[in-house]
Amino acid sequence: MNGKIILDVVELVKDFGGVRAVDRVSFQLREGEALGIIGPNGSGKTTLVNLITGFVKPDSGEVFFKGERITGLSPYSVARRGIGRTFQMARPFYKLPAYRNLVVPLWSPRVRASGGKYGDREAVALDLLEEVGFERDSSVPFKPAGALPHGYLKRLELARCLAIRPELIILDELFSGLSLAEVASTVPIIEKLQEEGHSLIMVEHRLRELFRIVDRVIVLNYGQKIAEGNPREVMESEAVKKAYLGVEPEGA
């Protein structure tokens, strides 16, 4: 990896009451790189994502995106600069057909500034849905989002994030709640995004699939970064085994 540094997180700290949710976490992400963030439940992964995307204001520390300081900016201005994210819980606009769901993010000033013409948003939406694996010639894109199975909802959430043409994509537990088959069909979509040169951060519990995608992982425990590096090496380290797995792994 020798791209430019696209995201630089420096000593981020966030307290919720007496609990230190994120404790002096620093990491860097290079252009086109895929980074995994893993850790046990409650270790501060989602809070870290919220800190980067501006949904939560940090108590101290800095975030730089493409060299620009974005610490404490409103979430919408962070998004406008090109950081797209998905949410753990996919909550689409249930009554709208799936493709109409995407009209909302396609209305974004970021898209309009880059030449998205009025009137063809629905066509762009259908293209996007095809990209994330909605069968184009079926009725699926036209069904109300509320009638879609969970796997499609997650992919709709991914499409929503892609609609603003982000340079950095942050996926917060995209695979959670998906069946093995659904995950297997989603992985190629993400690999394709990578090939297109998107930078990627994935918060994930599904390690097997995650390690197929990412080049590097950081491990959080009680808000602290306890390890960073190549997935295989990181999982071998004693601190990670103890924190993340709780017990000595057998075999594997």
Partner: protein
């Protein structure tokens, strides 16, 4: 179970989405055109008929109904954006007082004050409420409930704008016809304007804020700015309604901030069906004449009114309009069940 006898089952079919849509397909045949136009044109004809042939007293009721209808629709537009207002009287009262003072102090005629009050009222109310737009749900509602009450007390205490006396001697409309045409015209403009607005991509984004604001924010859209715009759009219509009432009564006073103007729009929206703009309009056309008809009952009026509301909330929680719409889009028929 003996299953020799012929059993019947109710079958329900939805009309195809295509037949319901309003794009070019709709122009393919007279049948399609009339299917789409009937629910829009028939109520308009009924309205025209009422406006022409009602006795004078009920014509005045029709004017009041149209004004409450505008208030109810402006409430509904806010709901579509995820802002539940308990103080539609704020917009109404501010518009009424602006029109009153423009006419009283500057002598501007009614055809000038109404739209100026709409614009000014919309801007002023959005400015007043802008600091609390970040509040969500019940917290925003509580602020909207309190602000009009505060304004009344400010007017009372500081004696500005005529204090408790109000401003009287305001120019009235030349005749009832002008009043009718203007109120119904405003009503229809707001109705079709809002409905068209919600159908656009912009309207879709507004409704997106209601359904999941975080998802809209993460698309890089400044939802607070959009909420302020929605406040302006809703506020200016309600302020225009208030300005109209000032001229209709030739008086403006503290009652324009009364709770009635906050509660009735909500009741109308509940009865008619929220989130569709047309629903609250239908609700207003049911509730205002009803409350007028019950006037003879004296104090008991409010009881009947309340019972009526409860019956509706329990019996038809989706609202009249949504119910009728559903039925309009469906065929129902009895088919025999094959065993």
């Amino acid at each position: 179970m003996p299953n020799k006898e012929k059993r019947l089952r109710k079958e329900r079919l939805d009309r195809g989405i295509k037949a319901r849509s309003e794009d070019i397909f709709a122009l393919s045949s007279w049948k399609e055109i009339s299917y789409l136009l009937a629910p829009r044109v028939l109520p308009l004809m009924a309205l025209l008929f009422l406006a022409l042939f009602l006795p004078v007293y009920w014509k005045k009721v029709l004017v009041t109904t149209a004004i409450f209808g505008i208030l109810a629709m402006s409430w509904d537009l806010l709901v579509c954006t995820g802002l539940v207002s308990l103080g539609q009287a704020l917009f109404f009262g501010v518009g009424a007082y602006i029109a009153g003072s423009l006419n009283h102090k500057l002598g501007l005629p009614w055809w000038c004050t109404i739209w100026t009050s709409g614009l000014l009222g919309g801007v002023l109310c959005s400015a007043i409420l802008a600091p609390v737009l970040r509040l969500r749900g019940i917290y925003f509602s509580m602020v909207t409930l309190v602000v009009p009450l505060m304004l009344v007390r400010i007017i009372e205490a500081t004696k500005i704008l005529g204090g408790t006396e109000g401003l009287s001697g305001i120019q009235g409309f030349p005749n009832l016809t002008v009043e009718l045409v203007l109120s119904l015209g405003m009503f229809l403009c707001v109705l079709f304007g809002y409905r068209r607005l919600l159908g656009t991509d912009y309207g879709l984004v507004l409704q997106g804020i209601r359904d999941n604001d975080r998802s809209v924010i993460s698309a890089g859209i400044n939802v607070y700015w959009l909420k302020a715009q929605a406040l302006f759009l809703a506020g200016s219509a309600a302020a225009m309604a208030g300005a109209f009432m000032t001229h209709a009564y030739m008086f403006v006073g503290m009652p324009v901030f009364a709770l009635d103007y906050s509660i009735l729009p909500i009741a109308a929206a509940v009865v008619g069906g929220m989130g569709s703009i047309a629903g609250p309009a239908v609700g207003a056309f049911l509730l205002v004449p009803l409350s007028e008809a019950l006037r003879g009952l004296g104090a008991l009026r409010i009881v009947f009114y309340g019972v009526f509301l409860v019956v509706f909330v329990v019996g038809l929680p989706e609202g009249i309009l949504h119910y009728l719409q559903r039925k309009y889009y469906q065929f129902e028929r009895w088919v025999s069940v094959e065993e």
